[in-house]
Symmetry: C2
Subunit: 271 residues, 2 copies
Amino acid sequence: MKIRRSERLIDMTQYLLDSPHQLISLTFFAKRYDSAKSSISEDISIIKKTFKDRGFGIIQTIPGATGGVIFTPAIDEAEAKVIIQQLCQRLSTQDRLLPGGYVYLSDLLGQPDLLRKVGRIIASKYLGQKIDAVMTVATKGVPIAQAVSYYLNAPFVIVRRDSKITEGSTVSVNYVSGSSERIEKMELSKRSLKRGSRVLVVDDFMKGGGTVNGMKSMIEEFDAELVGITVFAEANFKGVRAVDDYTSLLYVEQVDTATKTISVVPGNIFG
Amino acid sequence: MKIRRSERLIDMTQYLLDSPHQLISLTFFAKRYDSAKSSISEDISIIKKTFKDRGFGIIQTIPGATGGVIFTPAIDEAEAKVIIQQLCQRLSTQDRLLPGGYVYLSDLLGQPDLLRKVGRIIASKYLGQKIDAVMTVATKGVPIAQAVSYYLNAPFVIVRRDSKITEGSTVSVNYVSGSSERIEKMELSKRSLKRGSRVLVVDDFMKGGGTVNGMKSMIEEFDAELVGITVFAEANFKGVRAVDDYTSLLYVEQVDTATKTISVVPGNIFG
């Protein structure tokens, strides 16, 4: 039974959104709807235009027998800026202030709608770059890594400070915790990352950059390649950071435990 | 400028998929597309039918001035069974066998396409039930909790064995680790769960059920309510489990370290 255009458009939209960064042949869609390839091509043009106009991302058409369509999720810079501005306001409330000048983020890092937005923003930053894996450190980096991984369609790997038996053999590296200057250890399951993988590092919060620097060492240990570093929030840090090439969505400019004020501004992600 | 039906269908599909469990008024869509409410109603009927036919979930129309549409993601039982069967095969490979009879799962729990499916399957299990929060324990439960949270549009909270300063004040409970019979401690940030919340507990792996039972105590400690427990995989356990009312996607029936064989079958989720 032939499927009407309206139904095809709805199903193809869902299919593409659910399969980012995957090449889907027109033949696949033609069979799925028992429709001519020419009709599918027209559908794709309509979807392509709407996705572009609405800022969902880019649909690329690859011609030829081995061709098809690839959907790459993205977000408009203007929309991303609004989201980040709203986040700045939500973070700049005094009840988020914790002893030691830390900022309470756990509630935000558990909200699916926010994570979807953060994932799209970070993924858009690496548009057009090949990424084989997203790396983070347990526990609070995991939601960010998973959110980004959804939009890049690349697996995420979790480095741990306390590896469990359920990880199998691990590789460990030592690193200097930037803020406390202590030597710490982190571990990653040996089979979780292939040699030569191109890795994006993400984390929830960065002060001195010691943890992120530890992940850089880990990537070297696996003969893998660092593509970039993006953190959800960076703190104002007086010393010299262990890493200098990174992007942040938010910048915690000032934390004053005496007056109980926090000031959060956009990070360096949009220059 | 009026928007054509094809474009409306594509945008509404994306909007609904991205906003599960949220009531969206027809007026919102009518304004968004500068179209008559009657046209929007027709669009909704088409989308509703396609979502149903394709097994994406249910679109409910609520009449009246305060009405609108709500999309509830779901998955067909037949489709879910196929996914679980495939998972059984992927897990029943001898290179997953770890010392002590544990099974290596970390790679699967980092794959976005798989997590999307698992999230949909678990969310479908609680169709029609009010869930305010998804609870899990760090670290390996987090990907499952986040995946489910996306489809329920409810936040997830992470119980930790080692709470950090960045959590603020915490509530802690002691629990008996089922397999080792040791007394352990778990903590949850005080502000992460509201009194009276209806909580779904998820985890990656269950043996004796001690950890899950600890989360049950935690829920009581917060004067919250347990809605259900679902684990990704349960192990064949000889003793008496600490919890008896749970569902599992997978059942690790047999692990033989001598012959290096693992046998994984579907869990009890479909009875």
